[in-house]
Symmetry: C2
Subunit: 338 residues, 2 copies
Amino acid sequence: MIIDCHGHYTTAPGELEAWRNLQIAGLKDPANAPAKSALKISDDQIRDSLAGAQLKIQRERGTDLTIFSPRASGMAHHVGDAAASLVWSEICNDLIHRCCTLYPANFVGVCQLPQSPGVPPANCIRELERCVRELGFVGCNLNPDPSGGYWTDPPLTDKWWYPLYEKMVELEVPAMIHVSSSCNPNFHATGAHYLNADTTAFMQVLTSDLFKDFPALRFIIPHGGGAVPYHWGRYRGLAMDMKRPPLKQLLLNNVFFDTCVYHQPGVDLLLKVIPADNILFASEMVGAVRSIDPDTGHYFDDTKRYIDAIEWVSAEDKHKIFERNARKVYSRLKARAS
Amino acid sequence: MIIDCHGHYTTAPGELEAWRNLQIAGLKDPANAPAKSALKISDDQIRDSLAGAQLKIQRERGTDLTIFSPRASGMAHHVGDAAASLVWSEICNDLIHRCCTLYPANFVGVCQLPQSPGVPPANCIRELERCVRELGFVGCNLNPDPSGGYWTDPPLTDKWWYPLYEKMVELEVPAMIHVSSSCNPNFHATGAHYLNADTTAFMQVLTSDLFKDFPALRFIIPHGGGAVPYHWGRYRGLAMDMKRPPLKQLLLNNVFFDTCVYHQPGVDLLLKVIPADNILFASEMVGAVRSIDPDTGHYFDDTKRYIDAIEWVSAEDKHKIFERNARKVYSRLKARAS
């Protein structure tokens, strides 16, 4: 079985965005806020939105189960306040739940959290609990910068985040560290902000004792870990300079990287540098890059091909990357999928 | 000849930092600002500060000339106003000039610019001109985020920066895109902010027509290009998705990466993915990482060893990386060093 741990519902019916636009237009006057019930999407619309996209790609590429979450750039925690963020998160998460209910063999849910800049993450606990306990979700996407590119909230290692981590540990769910769109003109979302956030989060945990406080907390750093594996020597050296423990001991029980790296040399490096136990297969489909690489004739984001092409990784390690690590990190998956 | 295009004067005598601390302490009341002349550093102190550090490392590693600039984290453009930034830049640049004068075969200067958040970069023209015309410097370090981690100034592709670019082109000097320290607790300087800035700057130029406006403008993106070479497929794909020209045509006449990547697999990837014409040898010494890699027995930042170890790069390409590209990009070097 092949589990893709990083898929977003980027193909949702247009009604979803239209509802969000109404919500945004009504932000100044709550009387104009659309009702949740104003969003009408039929099961057939959901089936249509997935059939030619995620389901087709799963079949074509030979992957089985996608750990599926709302469109990351759509979260936009910097737009509106915590109340608006909550309604928007509920709507997006309910829609993911409908996808997972319609196609239980193909999708398992991960939730968007109702974060808002300057609002304590404890505020997200209720929605996390609802998604995990009531909707059967197996994890959450955690935005390390709800400001959308100005980085005004405390680092992930600050006690600010601890109540949410306590709940994550209690529920046995990991977080993928994933920013949303950027409202800072310096940062292109998928080309800079996403990768910067990955790199930033890794360095935050490297310099802290977060995992001493939460030995069971698990973070997935997406997009192949941002710049981290490419600069693995830099990080090993920085940890030494700071008299930190070796990275393996310091964080590799808790930090995992996905394989969303869109060319062979990048995936080669990732699998060479990072232990197989810490890599989860993912493609980010349908996602950041949608073109076909003219040099290979295949989609840039068909990351399974890159892994398949590597001969020096053992079958056992590939099995870990494609399935076993996902079951370990998203431990609620064990009970659900087989 | 081997040219290291990225060295900082991180070992300056303590008097420099003491002067800066006085300047910072006096920021609230200009009457307390120390005079420039209050800084007393003798030639012997400078010799001592270099002898056991940069000069020793050059000898040990077999490199010849270092393109030398003030300590990057010391620039701290976010501290004080533009007037304070100017005095501090003059002092740091004058000190680099003294190093280059004492050891003309070993060092050639690159200047710090008197940037300040919210102040037009045109304000830096006079100091750039002084350093190039009077002190014989061959380039500048340009901070894409003078705010120190809040990214409040416009992107590098905004017309905000154009007057400075016009002067750079007129003077025939390139800029290394290099942030300074971070005052944002989210960003560790050398482990996150530096690499993020590299990645960010690359994506800014990818999405703009900056090099149509300035065909002769040259940027060096340090630290191996941040996350960029590792995600080269992502960038090629993003450019295609956005109907931009191929990267080679779009920016590889103007953008260059250094080799400050501190392990063999990272340097392997860099040299595999990026054309040899776009890579400049560098070590960032004495710099970000000072430890010895216990796995190899050599310093992490001894980047020459990684390049030497690669057998599949031709002697001609290595010659480009070690010398010819530096002479091309820092074109004023031609006249000076041989």
